[in-house]
């Protein structure tokens, strides 16, 4: 099989900001884009190590994000703490099936699927897998796009706190789970940004 003509193989560097393709400088010296001045890398630096570091931090924080309350409601009838899941259950039992599914998908499924997908991507590159490269690249594209929707519950809490804080019959406060949950979203976004999908394709080129 002939080697695919990639930029790296041709001694070229692609700018990730303005996309100009330029000649790589001699090894050992830093490369800058001749058009926009951005620093150029053949591959994202320390891609796998950074991806794993952010991912493991996200997995650890995923536990408090789901077990600690994201919202405390106090009213005349006492105090109620809501986790992400009990918030979904509330929407479901009050008949908002579409919204309950939406919040469940954005807050529970998306972060979980994103963390699993990142582990699969980083792991398969480390195991030098040459299978399903196109599918894995597509998977990366999807998680890069979908991760942001997990912020949904953070914004729900924001609006509820702002509106119900001062009213006479009840008050709503953000719980410690909200910060943990926000951190999970931010960390998985950093993890996805650190992963370089070009690594998926480098392996075949070295071995075939």
């Amino acid at each position: 099989m002939s080697m695919a003509p990639t930029a790296a193989r041709s001694g070229l560097l692609a700018c990730e900001v303005c996309r100009l393709v330029s000649h790589a400088p001699p090894p050992g010296s830093d490369a800058y884009c001749p058009r926009c001045g951005a620093m150029l890398h053949t591959r994202k630096p320390a891609s796998l190590a950074r991806t794993w570091a952010f991912l493991i931090a996200a997995i650890i924080l995923y536990v408090p994000a789901n077990t600690l309350p994201i919202m405390d409601t106090s009213s005349l009838f006492g105090t109620q703490s809501d986790t992400i899941l009990s918030g979904v259950a509330f929407l479901w039992t009050s008949g908002s099936f579409v919204l309950a599914s939406l919040v469940f998908f954005a807050s529970v499924m998306v972060p979980l699927a994103k963390m699993i997908a990142l582990a699969v991507l980083a792991g398969s590159v480390q195991m030098r897998s040459v299978r399903h490269q196109r599918t894995r690249t597509r998977l990366y594209r999807i998680i890069e796009f979908a991760g942001r929707w997990s912020m949904l519950d953070i914004y729900v809490v924001t609006i509820l706190v702002a509106l119900v804080q001062v009213s006479t019959f009840a008050s709503i406060h953000a719980g410690p789970g909200a910060a943990a949950f926000g951190a999970v979203v931010v960390l998985t976004m950093f993890a996805a940004a650190s992963f370089d999908p070009r690594l998926i394709w480098d392996i075949q080129e070295k071995e075939s």
Partner: protein
């Protein structure tokens, strides 16, 4: 020195020769299917400027007026987006307050002002102060602008509140809806390649 007729796929590194696309066309990587570049009409950045300016006005409206009002037993409350961030800050939820401020106010504002500034200076044929660092900055903060997610969050919270109170959607709610559409339209219309080429010739 450089080879401007080549474009490298950012997702699999495959090199492609850049070709003239038909109107509305887009080029995708032959190996992994990633988007390489789009056909941009010659007036793409004129359109992007008009859309970005409109978005700037909508951004101001969306932040000045209350997003939503609430009436419970005769008591009326309402909040702007910044007011909501302040509530979180005062509520000791400072991490969350910073995150909300950054993703719904700071990044969208910086992105819109930066894009407008760059497009205005390019239109005047001037290099403009800081066009290159501004474009770098926009590129790096882009994933953190989350107006559309915020809007969905507002809608979900309205449904939750509808059980306990009377909801009065505010002016800003509709402005945010329009803002979301105009930010997306401006980003889609913007032709960064033309902007970079123009910046290069001015230099």
């Amino acid at each position: 020195m450089s080879s401007p007729t080549f474009v490298a796929c950012l997702e699999c590194d495959l090199l492609h020769r850049q070709t003239q696309l038909p109107s509305g066309g887009e080029a995708r990587c032959t190996r992994c299917g990633a988007l390489l570049y789009r056909h941009a009409p010659p007036d793409a950045n004129e359109r992007a400027l008009a859309l970005a300016l409109t978005a700037c006005i909508l951004f101001v409206v969306a932040n000045v007026y209350p997003i939503v009002g609430l009436e419970v037993q005769g008591t009326h409350t309402s909040s702007t987006l910044f007011g909501a961030v302040e509530s979180l800050w005062d509520d000791e939820a400072r991490t969350v307050a910073v995150l909300v401020f950054f993703t719904t106010i700071f990044v969208p504002a910086a992105e819109l002002i930066g894009l407008t500034w760059v497009l205005v200076t390019l239109r005047q044929g001037a290099r403009g102060r800081g066009a290159v660092p501004i474009l770098h900055f926009i590129e790096s903060v882009k994933p953190w602008g989350m107006v559309e997610v915020f809007l969905l969050g507002v809608l979900v919270s309205l449904v939750k509140l509808a059980h306990i109170a009377t909801i009065e959607p505010g002016v800003a709610l509709f402005s945010f809806g329009a803002l979301m559409a105009f930010i997306a339209a401006a980003a889609a219309a913007f032709d960064p390649d033309a902007a970079w080429k123009q910046l290069e010739t001015i230099r």
